[in-house]
């Protein structure tokens, strides 16, 4: 095993071009566990943990979030409510000070806490390599499967970009305590009133992040009726119908953290609450 610590992004891309099999180390919260437990023995590790070029965060109407931005910095700097709430549920302060959004994207787990929000914000992932330069990937194309990001050999996640979507956002996560929980299931909902767009995305509910498109259309219809600038008053029947549509989109499995049946149930409950919260935020 050897470790390279490039001093610049350019040097990192050079190392990855020479050795596309090299494993990239960011915050270490996944890779170091695998190494500590003997589950991973990479031949070559390229550490990008301390590259200042990846830590830039521009938080305006267009958000540009460098891959090396930690959850702590995200929740201090970003205004998109769902992302702030999700970042705050990641691990503990120790984990939030280390883990990065680029690491969440690179690990590409369906339980990655920020991933449902990036889906619901229609984010674009910008990757870069020495050979092909920058390449833009819509989030909907990012996850090819569990732990299979749309990264080609030699490529590095450079940043995530999205348009700030206003205050009507919700993130909900089910687990056994508030801290240190890998999501049993999670849900992000964004009602972008300016762009007249509703997005609902589910985490830990299938092999990738799943969009609940039928539920999105139903919610759009409800909002259309009262007007996009106005708060939504919901009937019990509308909330139940929305919850059913969201739960029907999930493809949950039974595993050590929960059963598929429980996940589907809790996703319905979270969906009903998310519709209530985003509907009230006008």
């Amino acid at each position: 095993m050897r470790v390279s610590v490039p001093k610049s992004l350019d040097a990192a891309l050079g190392l990855l071009a020479e050795d596309p099999q090299a494993v990239v180390l960011a915050g270490g919260t996944d890779l170091m566990v695998a190494i500590n437990f003997g589950r991973a023995r990479p031949e070559h590790i390229v550490s990008i943990a301390r590259l200042a070029e990846l830590k830039e965060l521009v938080a305006g109407e267009q958000v540009l979030c460098g891959a090396g931005v930690t959850y702590t910095h995200l929740l201090q700097r970003v205004r998109d409510r769902a992302l702030v709430d999700a970042a705050r549920t990641v691990g503990s302060p120790q984990i939030r000070n280390a883990g990065t959004i680029g690491g969440n994207l690179g690990t590409c787990s369906p339980a990655g806490d920020t991933l449902p929000i990036l889906a619901a914000l229609d984010a674009t992932i910008v990757v870069v390599s020495r050979r092909s330069g920058e390449r833009r990937v819509p989030f909907s194309d990012w996850m090819r499967g569990p732990k299979q990001p749309a990264l080609e050999p030699g490529e590095l996640v450079l940043r995530a970009e999205w348009e700030e979507a206003g205050p009507a956002q919700a993130f909900l996560k089910a687990g056994t305590r508030n801290a240190m929980v890998i999501a049993v299931a999670s849900l992000a909902m964004v009602v972008d009133r300016a762009r007249r767009r509703v997005r609902v995305a589910l985490g830990s509910a299938g092999p990738t992040i799943i969009r609940a498109t039928a539920a999105e259309e139903m919610a759009s219809g409800l909002i259309e009726e009262v007007g996009w600038e106005r708060p939504l008053t919901l009937t019990e029947a509308a909330r139940a119908r929305f919850a059913d549509l969201v739960a029907a989109a999930a493809r949950p499995i039974d595993d050590q953290r929960g059963t598929g049946a429980y996940r589907r149930h809790v996703i319905g409950v979270m969906a009903s609450r998310a519709l209530q919260r985003t509907g009230a935020a006008a």
Binding site: R2, V5, G27, M32, V33, I35, N36, I45, Q94, I95
Partner: protein, 154 residues
């Protein structure tokens, strides 16, 4: 093996290490700094907490060979720190120490909390210490120690 050179508690410390070694292992087994405890090795328990460029992290999740240039402060490096001194006294006075295994990690995390906020609310304390596990005290006396240390810092 590879030569690793780190800034630990204000001094340059150098030793041979396996390239995949965690900072925690390096601190304990190469430098003899046994204050940071080795328990879960997966970032769950906080007993290996250190400051890394001023930020609280689990040293088990830091690759030692990639930490060159960072300022690392362990619980040993807090000996003369005025906030940590009040934290240690308060942990004794409040009975926040039982078996003591988690205590160094808690002292580091509590020092970090009180540096930024002398009088955290109960919820702020719980969130700030949520990455440190204690299986003896039930946390009540540790939270009491946070209050006492905050008062003593006035």
């Amino acid at each position: 093996m590879t030569q690793v050179r780190l800034q630990v508690n204000g001094a340059v410390r150098e030793a041979e290490a396996w390239p995949g070694e965690s900072l925690l292992y390096f601190l304990r087994e190469r430098l003899g700094l046994f204050g940071s405890k080795n328990a879960c090795e997966q970032g769950e328990c906080g007993s290996c907490s250190v400051f890394f460029d001023g930020e609280l992290v689990c040293s088990c999740l830091v690759l030692a060979a990639a930490a060159e240039g960072a300022q690392i402060v362990t619980v040993e490096g807090l000996e003369d720190d005025p906030v940590a001194a009040r934290v240690r006294e308060a942990m004794v006075a409040a009975g926040g120490v039982q078996c003591g295994f988690c205590t160094p990690g808690f002292v580091v995390a509590m020092t970090g909390l009180l540096r930024g906020n002398r009088h955290p609310s109960d919820l702020e304390t719980r969130e700030a210490l949520s990455g440190n596990l204690c299986r003896c005290t039930g946390y009540v006396r540790i939270f009491e120690a946070v209050r006492r240390a905050g008062d003593a810092l006035e």
